[in-house]
């Protein structure tokens, strides 16, 4: 082997395989968060106005998966509450929390900016407009969701077309495109609210734009689950490529990365995740912004670990939020209110811990 260094001026400290402990540390955190997710999921299933003991929850779940001759120690009512009411909400909450957090972490990595959230390109405002128009026209909930998905994606399509229109491929132009479309969509939403019947349509629109799992059923969850899970797998597989993109365009390209295609695919996946999440439960703020920060605090900046940990922590956070939403008061509290009330102080604490310098 050729020794490149002839002088003895530099003092080499040759540590054998220094990385192993760091990798193991990251893996430990991920395993622990998976455990935390399972625990939060089961505990949340058991908590509610109608309490079901944890052991019964586990037994009911097992009896659904493996139809063995297990002795039935639970009532019909317990099974109904767990399987038909709480399970769909919690599966939905886990998917939405994971999707929003993963989407936010991806956007933050792509735009090299830790203050970016999944709504950057106008997907949430776009989805709100579609949902509001569908509510105005008195469509059923499935059509409302479909409209939200379509207009959410349309908004992103317009945002991503703006840099092409100006033949300027910089990230800044894309962000400005998002600002323009978000602003426009929020005005359109204002128009729908203005013309809505104030007795029930307006309330429905406002309630929808604050997010809730109150009406979520298993059919709705199963409809978006394949899309969310498959897109999640693609993003998680390309997590190292997002590290490469965060080096900057020149360096990434010199490493053989096709910037346009890779960034395009990542933006497409992150957008699909947010759009699916929004169409399932309405818009929910904060999750996509703060969960990646929290992830960075506990596992570092490397997207190989940050993307998986953000997904899991996002799911846990959403389970906690939804549990509070349905238990704190007699009626359901919209999710965005709780994510905001929890998120804002949490974000201040995270910024203080990270000592982020914002000039």
């Amino acid at each position: 082997m050729i020794n490149l260094e002839s002088s003895s001026k530099s003092i080499p400290i040759d540590k054998p395989k220094p990385q192993i402990s760091a990798v193991w540390h990251a893996h430990k955190i991920i395993y622990f968060s998976i455990f935390l997710f399972i625990a939060a999921f089961l505990i949340s299933l058991s908590i509610g106005r109608f309490n079901v003991p944890l052991i019964q929850v586990v037994k009911i779940l097992i009896s659904q998966v493996v139809p063995t001759g297990m002795e039935v120690t639970w009532t019909e009512q317990m099974q109904n509450v767990i399987i038909n009411i709480r399970l769909p909400r919690l599966v939905g909450a886990s998917l939405v929390g994971g999707a929003l957090a993963l989407s936010g972490a991806t956007y933050q990595g792509l735009f090299k900016n830790p203050l970016v959230s999944p709504d950057l390109l106008g997907v949430s405002n776009g989805a709100c407009v579609g949902a509001a128009i569908a509510i105005l026209l008195g469509f059923p909930s499935l059509v409302i969701q479909g409209c939200a998905l379509l207009t959410g994606l349309l908004a992103v399509l317009i945002s991503t077309s703006i840099p092409k229109f100006f033949k300027n491929n910089s990230s800044l132009m894309l962000v400005l495109g998002g600002v323009i479309v978000s602003g426009f969509m929020s005005s359109l939403l204002g128009i729908t609210k203005y013309v809505a019947d104030p007795d029930n349509q307006l309330a429905a629109i406002v309630y929808w734009t604050m997010g809730s799992f109150a009406t979520t059923n298993m059919n709705q969850v199963l409809l978006v689950m394949p899309a969310i899970l498959s897109v999640m797998v693609v993003l998680l597989l390309m997590r190292w490529r997002i590290n490469l993109l965060s080096l900057g365009d020149k360096e990434a390209r010199s490493l053989g990365v096709n910037i346009r295609k890779t960034r395009g695919l990542a933006i497409f996946c992150a957008t699909i995740l947010t759009a699916c999440a929004v169409c399932l439960c309405g818009t929910i703020g904060w999750v996509g912004l703060i969960i990646p920060h929290f992830g960075r605090l506990i596992i570092g900046h490397d997207n190989r670990y940050l993307l998986p940990i953000s997904t899991i922590i996002g799911a846990v956070f959403m389970i906690v939020v939804d549990t509070i939403a349905r238990n704190l008061t007699g009626s359901e509290i919209p999710l965005s209110i709780i994510t905001g009330l929890l998120g804002a102080p949490l974000f201040v604490w995270l910024l203080a811990r990270q000592k982020v310098r914002i000039s």
Partner: protein, 269 residues
């Protein structure tokens, strides 16, 4: 020295928006193991030239051949397997460890959905050991010094295992000792590993010490390329930098050195 032509630049020209000419008629060829040091005043177009050679910008006219094949006919990933590029030192927004930064050099050899595994990290450890920088492995790339960062960037290029490397002002912002260290590393890479290197610099001595090819880029966008002895003269340097410079032969070192003249305003042309 092997006769294989690694990099050939033919009649290259670039102009922004087809109007503002940056450089014209650039011609040179580099064989295996050859080094070209490009000297030029600030804003002469050195970085733009490297951007064209590294396929970041498409030249207005002319062509670039990598191992005899036009660069435009290569896939982006195949260019990255042949040619590595070190841009000027930049501070990354997100902090990775030096080891995680260097392993990114393996990207052209990996699939789009793969993450680096033990085989890739073994290569990184080997290169870091060769460069005597193993001690930096666990440090955060954003926190190490400029000289260390430059060495980490070169390590990344070595992990990339390319035949040609391009470096944009690799000695920029470095103290004198670190500048010489980087020049020494580059020279050894060419001599011992047969790498073909193109680098830009503001210090004529760098070209003299490496003693291979040098290209002097003037403000009109022309570049004179040739061996150091033919291209570097007091006249050519004075013309390039518009100041009084002397070439002094140092017997002990058996080479010339570039020395500035008196600090008199009269000396400035």
């Amino acid at each position: 020295m092997c006769d294989e032509v690694m990099l050939e630049v033919k009649n290259l020209a670039y102009s922004y928006d087809g109007v503002k000419k940056i450089f014209t008629n650039i011609d040179f060829e580099l064989h295996k193991g050859e080094v070209l040091v490009i000297l030029g005043a600030n804003g002469a177009g050195k970085s733009t030239l490297l951007d064209c050679i590294s396929n970041m910008l498409t030249p207005t006219t002319g062509e670039i051949l990598l191992k005899g094949k036009n660069i435009a006919k290569y896939a982006i990933n195949d260019v990255a397997k042949l040619m590595g590029y070190v841009p000027q030192i930049s501070t990354p927004t997100f902090s990775y460890t030096v080891r995680d930064y260097i392993v990114m050099g393996r990207a052209p050899h990996m699939g789009i959905l793969n993450v680096p595994g033990p085989a890739e990290y073994d290569k990184v450890d080997e290169v870091m050991k060769d460069m005597w920088i193993s001690g930096l492995a666990d440090k955060i790339y954003a926190n190490i010094s400029g000289g260390e960062r430059q060495q980490a960037q070169i390590a990344r290029i070595l992990v990339q295992e390319t035949d040609i490397i391009l470096l944009d002002e690799p000695t920029n912002h470095l103290d004198y000792g670190n500048q010489l260290k980087i020049i020494q590393i580059i020279s050894k890479l060419a001599r011992n590993r047969g790498l073909t290197v193109v680098l830009t610099s503001h210090i004529p001595d760098h070209a003299i010490m490496i003693d291979e090819k040098v290209g002097i880029m003037d403000n009109l966008g022309h570049m004179t390329v040739g061996p150091v002895k033919e291209v570097i003269s007091e006249e050519s340097l004075k013309e390039l930098y518009h100041t009084d410079l002397h070439l002094v032969y140092i017997d002990e070192l058996k080479r010339i050195a570039c020395v500035a003249g008196k600090l008199n305003d009269e000396n400035r042309k």
